[in-house]
């Protein structure tokens, strides 16, 4: 699934948070976005995922213009996002969090629930099996039946990824997946992302943790003050003088 952003823009009053950003995530691509705080990365994500409406520009998914679609409709088309601050369903267990993410459940309609209980049971069993696989894949077994609100920050990040996976996505937008995650878990998370990418799932990742991201992605875009100031393979981009000035403060 390819994602094309063309001249996306969003201003808050006089402040231009995202300024004519254009970039492409090819089918099955693994693309990163870096930039200092306030560069407009998270705003860009909200524009792409439908949580904010852009002032100008377009979002195209597999050739279809989705700029005006609601957030849940975009997710249904196979593009799901996670959040920088995990938004777990705190009072549901890890297992229930993942179950809730399974699409197309007839047990979520009142008609299905009361008129087709047998069908609902069969679907629940199928979903439970998929959830068990995802829990095993993410090594969340020890906390599978713990309320998600009680997980550590790193485990919540894993859960966010797991929930996104349950929707059968073709493209996952990760908002700072490594923030607040201990180094061991960063490696594990990177390995999961690589494994999923090898299965054909595309990723667009916003990240602050530069080394972790540069080891992971094929292409990188650098944002500063709402604009993309450099794009390309990580090594080339990081050598760029403007990038060093903006992102690394010229000191590194």
């Amino acid at each position: 699934m390819s994602l094309v952003l063309a001249d996306l823009a969003k201003s808050w009053g006089g402040f231009c948070a995202v300024d004519a950003v254009s970039l492409t995530v090819p089918k099955g691509g693994l693309v990163g976005i870096i930039g200092p705080n306030g560069a407009g990365k998270s705003t860009l994500f909200s524009l792409v995922s439908g949580f904010l409406a852009p002032d100008a520009g377009s979002v195209t998914l597999d050739g279809a213009d989705i700029t005006r679609l609601a957030a849940h409709e975009r997710a249904r088309r196979g593009m799901v996002r996670t959040f920088q601050v995990p938004r777990e369903f705190a009072h549901l267990t890890v297992r229930e969090n993942l179950m809730a993410a399974v699409p197309g459940q007839s047990g979520e309609t009142l008609r299905g629930l009361f008129l087709r209980p047998a069908m609902v049971r069969v679907e629940e069993q199928a979903a439970a099996a998929r959830v068990a696989d995802t829990i095993a894949f993410l090594r969340l077994d020890p906390v599978a039946d713990t309320p998600a609100g009680k997980l550590s920050g790193g485990q919540k990040k894993l859960l966010e990824l797991g929930r996104a996976l349950m929707t059968d996505p073709a493209l996952i937008l990760l908002d700072e997946p490594f923030a607040g995650v201990n180094p061991v878990l960063v490696e594990a998370l990177s390995a999961h992302i690589r494994a999923l990418n090898a299965r054909g799932i595309g990723f667009l990742i916003i990240e602050h943790d530069l080394p972790a991201l540069t080891r992971l992605v094929g292409d990188i875009h650098v944002m500063d003050r709402g604009r993309v100031i450099a794009s390309g393979p990580p090594a080339a981009v990081l050598a760029d003088a403007a990038v060093r000035e903006a992102y690394l403060g010229g000191s590194a």
Binding site: F51, H72, E88, L113
Partner: protein
């Protein structure tokens, strides 16, 4: 004395129905509904009008009460579910006051402030007294049991899981490709239908309804019930309603022990007593008697 106890029990069971509806709205889904009495009012008037001037069998009134109250919730859901929580609270409060004003002014239909007298009581054939009182309690218990059963079915289902997910984090639900509004409208309608049935019971039990019985205070009594019992729990709704009746009715006897209080003052003292109980609960047991949804 038996008759008095039976009356308290009947009103308490009507409050349990109201509390179950609000638990569905707020405790499970997080909808801050400050207009629950509006649905109660619609149910009561539907049943009253159909069984008096309408000349319909009582059962028809009950069905109409549930359906009309449920349908009344639909447009509220459509226009306001995209609003933030606090705005939703204001919209629902406005709705219930609008309902009260409509039944006050539309005299051709509701007889205005004079209200509707002579609503047939349930089981009149059994005569006035204990037999009919017990029969009414039996029906109320059966309806409550059915509501609780429906509730459990709902809570322990994928639908129930999703509404709790919405309560915990609506944006995450949207990010996963599900439309929270679709679930919230259904929840709103279901809880409203329960309140409508409660209204029908109320009309047939009291036998006489006027708009003043449907002031916002009723909504807040139901809120007090679920807060005292424990938010988001079926047992909390039941225990809280019974506790509320204990405070409301128990404070009635205060007059025998507290001197220098007239009957008019007493009404205020009762509300004060319930308010004090609520304050003490939020201070010392904020999760309610039965514990709230945070304890699983």
């Amino acid at each position: 004395m038996e008759a008095y106890l039976a009356a308290i029990a009947a009103i308490a069971l009507i409050y349990v129905l109201l509390s179950l509806g609000l638990t569905l709205h707020y405790g499970l889904t997080g909808l801050i509904n400050f207009g629950h009495v509006g649905f109660f009012c619609i149910g009561a008037y539907a049943a009253a009008i159909l069984s008096t001037t309408g000349g319909m069998p009582i059962v028809v009134g009950f069905v109409a009460a549930a359906v009309l109250a449920g349908l009344a919730a639909w447009p509220i859901g459509l226009v306001s579910l995209r609003l933030r929580d606090d705005y939703f609270a204001i919209v629902t409060l406005g709705f219930s006051e609008t309902v009260r004003l409509v039944v006050t002014s539309e005299r051709w239909l509701t007889n205005g402030v004079q209200g509707i007298p002579g609503i047939p009581r349930l089981f009149e054939g059994l005569g006035v007294g204990m037999p009919s009182a017990l029969a009414i309690l039996g029906v109320l218990l059966a309806v409550n049991a059915a509501a609780v059963w429906l509730f459990f079915r709902l809570v322990k289902s994928p639908f129930g899981r999703m509404i709790e997910a919405i309560r915990d984090n609506e944006e995450a639900v949207r990010a996963l490709g599900k439309d929270p509004a679709r679930f919230k409208i259904r929840v709103l309608m279901l809880g409203a239908a329960l309140a409508g049935i409660a209204g029908a019971f109320y009309a047939h039990y009291i036998g006489y309804i006027v708009p003043d019985q449907f002031i916002p205070l009723v909504t807040f009594y139901v809120w007090m019930a679920i807060i005292m019992g424990g938010v988001g729990r079926i047992s909390g709704a039941i225990v809280g309603s019974l506790l509320l009746m204990l405070f409301l009715e128990g404070s009635r006897f205060l007059r025998d022990v507290v001197p220098f209080i007239s009957a008019v003052d007493m009404a205020s003292v009762r509300i004060g007593a319930v308010g004090l109980a609520l304050v003490l609960f939020t201070l010392y047991r904020p999760q309610g008697l039965m514990g709230d949804y945070t304890r699983r």
